[in-house]
């Protein structure tokens, strides 16, 4: 009985929230970062029922013959509102949608672009097919009714590293990995804007559910080189503000370096996972948005491997 009562009160609260969020308007405003290059900058928060999952950066490039869309956000609604916002900037057709990697906040808006080519790296395509529904379920749990009607539309084109003409615009695709098994960086040659996907986080703690930190650090080195090339104008991180320099790369690296060094030392010192979870963040990261929750998640993802390393080979 008690549980029914709790469930009833819970659904009342959910209803109240739904009324407050009536219309489910993400309020997407394109921010021009270069001529013909726009970014929708999300909040540096975790998914919840207030932000509806608008915690991610997406963008688009208006080429001479058509538009290239980079990532589609966390829900059907986000994708639809994004497409409407794009149409207010340009009436050109969408030439190509790119999903930078297989995380749900970057592809669950694909439904709104089901009539145009959607491309991703081969491993990202496989990841979306294999895990997309489970990811979507999790976002329904965290973002609630903002997600309603959202279903997985997997990419239908495989992209490869190298130059690609799309919408009459020359894009340089750089295939990296580390945040996930396949992270695609898109460089718009005409504007010098680098879309780094989730290899770069700016003023928000990085997420690591599918990370290979060693590879991620190598990918950051490649990205750092891109930001030093002549013609570079802006870095679009997967989360957080757009910058005119490579600062988010250094911040992402600093977090990953601290995280791995401290977890490795903890495992060598004989700490149990609960001991590691209880440790406070160092002052350098204490004020970083979502640092405490991402630290806890990362301990879960990464600590077991450091334990194996510290305990040595089996006998």
């Amino acid at each position: 009985m008690k549980f029914r009562l709790i469930a009833f009160v819970g659904s009342l609260a959910a209803l109240a929230q739904a009324v407050l969020a009536a219309g489910f308007d993400y309020g997407l405003q394109p921010q021009a970062v270069a001529p013909d290059v726009y970014v929708f900058v999300g909040k540096t928060e975790d998914f919840d029922t207030k932000n509806g999952g608008n915690i991610v950066n997406t963008g688009f490039i208006v080429g001479p013959d058509g538009i290239v869309v980079i990532d589609t956000g966390p829900s059907r609604r986000y994708g639809e509102q994004m497409r409407q916002a794009i149409a207010r900037v340009s009436s050109k057709p969408i030439a190509l949608v790119i999903n930078t990697h297989h995380h749900p906040d970057h592809f669950l808006g694909n439904q709104a672009f089901a009539d145009v080519p959607i491309g991703a790296l081969a491993a990202a395509r496989q990841g979306i097919v294999a895990d997309g529904n489970a990811f979507a379920e999790n976002l329904y749990r965290m973002s609630g009714d903002w997600m309603s009607g959202t279903e997985v539309v997997a990419p239908n084109r495989t992209l490869q590293a190298g130059d690609l003409m799309a919408g009459g615009r020359r894009l340089r695709l750089v295939a990296l990995d580390g945040h996930t098994g396949a992270d695609l960086v898109v460089v718009d040659s005409a504007s010098g804007v680098v879309f780094a996907g989730d290899l770069a986080f700016n003023d928000r703690a990085p997420t690591t559910p599918h990370a290979d930190v060693g590879h991620w650090r190598q990918a950051l080195t490649v990205l750092e080189a891109l930001t030093r090339q002549p013609g570079f104008t802006a870095l679009v991180p997967g989360h957080g503000a757009v910058t005119r320099d490579g600062a988010p790369l250094a911040r992402t690296r600093a977090w990953l370096d601290w995280l791995t060094a401290s977890l490795r030392a903890a495992a060598r010192d004989g700490l149990d996972m609960n001991d590691v979870l209880a440790r406070p963040l160092p002052p350098a990261f204490a004020d970083l948005p979502v640092a405490a929750s991402e630290y806890r998640r990362s301990v879960g993802h990464l600590y077991p491997a450091f334990e194996v390393e510290a305990l040595g080979a089996g006998r």
Binding site: R296, V308, R315
Partner: protein
Amino acid sequence: MKYPLTIVAIALAALMPPAEAAALQEVGDPLASARWEDMRRQFLNGQSVVFDPRVKVVAPSTAENPMQVPVTVDASGLPGVQEVVVFADFNPIVEVLRFFPQASPAYLGFRIKLQQSSPVRAAVRTADGVWHVGGSWVNTVGGGCTAPSAAAASPEWQKRLNEVSGRQWTEGPNAGRLRLRIVHPMDTGLVAGTPAFFLEEITLRDETGLALMRVRPAEPVAENPIFTLLRSGQGAIEASGRDNNGNTFTARIAP
């Protein structure tokens, strides 16, 4: 409604600091779980039970990975601990493990699989026959007991089954600590086509053959179990055990 404490609780309270004594209670589950009475009947039927703050169950309030939820049970503040039963009220397989701290403190760290958000509890039986209960709620996305083990995706584990790695810490803040990892899929039997296959007995002895602790894991212990213990004494430790299919292991962990 407030019930008076029974004679057992009054006797216990007399031996405890006032703040802890105030937290002793015999009725009214502090975790307010609808399953508590079932748990009490299943594990502690007809016996004296107190909720006791000296039984510490440390677990994250929100667990990122329902297949690897860290749990640390520390009842080392209780004298005369004979047996500790760990269970999760809302798991499809409720009993997680039992351990018998023989010549070591009543302290054990391990990881478990949770099927949904649940209290995780430890009931600690002391020499006088009283069960002392502590616990904490863990929120999780769930599915930990019915998701296939990582081993199910690769035959590699068969070559390494029951492989033990471990280490003792003899100096620094964690001196006296032992950590032990055993390669085992710990299949719950709740995944279609995969029968239950889990470690069910682990014994730790020192060099003289003295039993330090006996652990009886059940299906909800996480894949490739990793245990953290505190030991008294010195020297190498021998870990031995077997799974429910009769596969055995023995390993020596030098200090």
